[in-house]
Symmetry: D2
Subunit: 132 residues, 4 copies
């Protein structure tokens, strides 16, 4: 399996809007987290099962650039691409595009690490294979 972009289509829900009538800034992190977990599922890893078995995927750093706000009823796609970084870290590049015009909404870079017993570990084999 070669490394590729994982796409997840979603629609804004009205409870995600704030008083400015746009999706609240923190909600984009929910979208990105959900897309990462769906990405992991697509390569055979389940976040909740990993947690029950003592392995946690943990975010170390997140950078978000807000380009254009999403509003009520907007449809959008989260595109996720992952790369290894050093021995234990891996980086998710996650951009959000508004549909159907594919306008750039948000650029995200999320650095993560897998932890077991409080220590960083090498990513599971499924991750290493998927991002090669």
């Amino acid at each position: 399996m070669s490394n590729k972009v994982f796409e997840l289509q979603l629609t804004v829900r009205d409870y995600e809007l704030d008083t400015q009538g746009v999706v609240n800034n923190s909600v984009y992190q929910n979208y990105l987290e959900h897309a990462r977990h769906e990405y992991l599922k697509s390569i055979g890893l389940n976040f909740n099962e990993l947690h029950q078995n003592g392995t946690d995927a943990v975010v170390h750093k997140i950078e978000l650039v807000y380009k254009k706000p999403l509003m009520g009823d907007d449809r959008f796609v989260v595109k996720t691409y992952a790369e290894q970084s050093g021995n234990v870290r891996f980086i998710f590049y996650q951009n959000i595009y508004k549909l159907p015009e594919n306008e750039l909404v948000l650029e995200g870079i999320v650095t993560g690490v897998f932890m077991k017993n409080g220590r960083p570990i090498r990513p599971p084999q499924e991750v290493i294979e998927a991002i090669q």
Copy 2:
């Protein structure tokens, strides 16, 4: 158009889980609100456009009976059925069932009213027609 049940299928997202590993109680209200707004869309009414034109759909009362918790990765369907109640109120009966077994997760009864300029008004014609 005769009155009928509106169905919306969704999947639990991991950020909706709480420390007990189940969907947090308040999140079901998000699911129900989203289903009501999608229901309104299905009969030609848009919650955000209504608001911009000065009409707000407002919840007066909500009753929720929690039957079985949803957990990570669960798929479920929200079934919504609406009835008028008196001149200005209408009632949404909203049940959530876990898929694929259709196990009852939550029974909801939501009483709402449309407001304009701070006063209850008769529901828009689209609602009256849809729930006849």
Copy 3:
């Protein structure tokens, strides 16, 4: 210790507002949950420690009547009063009042039960003593 009303003062945070400029309906459940957990702490019970020891406080039913919306920057108090109901259930009466005028915002009735190993149990002794 005789049964009494537990009061928790809070302030609306802007991210809790929705596109109507009022606190979103589901957020009141967050307020009520937080007030219940603070109430439990005030009688010597910690929700998270209980969970780690295998006992979960679970909501069975919730009824909310929305009287007046909270808006940005509003200060309010959650008043919580608990009663036993039968052998295993207990009921929280939780009203929210806007400060400083003490206007009624929301009336809540929350029925809960303590669970251990998937079964309802008699409430912990701290609860029984507190609500006598």
Copy 4:
């Protein structure tokens, strides 16, 4: 008035925890937003009033480094310091420390801009004076 650090003390609420038993990553953005809005209030600016008058404080970029997770019942302080950056942008440096030991939990850098009629404007005089 000289530029100074604005401090806001908060406590973790249980509904902010996720299935790992720690505060969910996106919730820190809520904490930071709330601290920024309280900071603005402390210098005489109200986010909601600004919005009603057509001026919106908008986040352009956010960088978060997660150092140590907050857990249930943790008390913490958000320390906010603001600087101007060019003509229209300003930068909030926002760190979160766990109390009472002042352990570093999160380092945040938030770049914002004030918008009016869809265009960036020079920050209100209150901001310029406060961050000199």
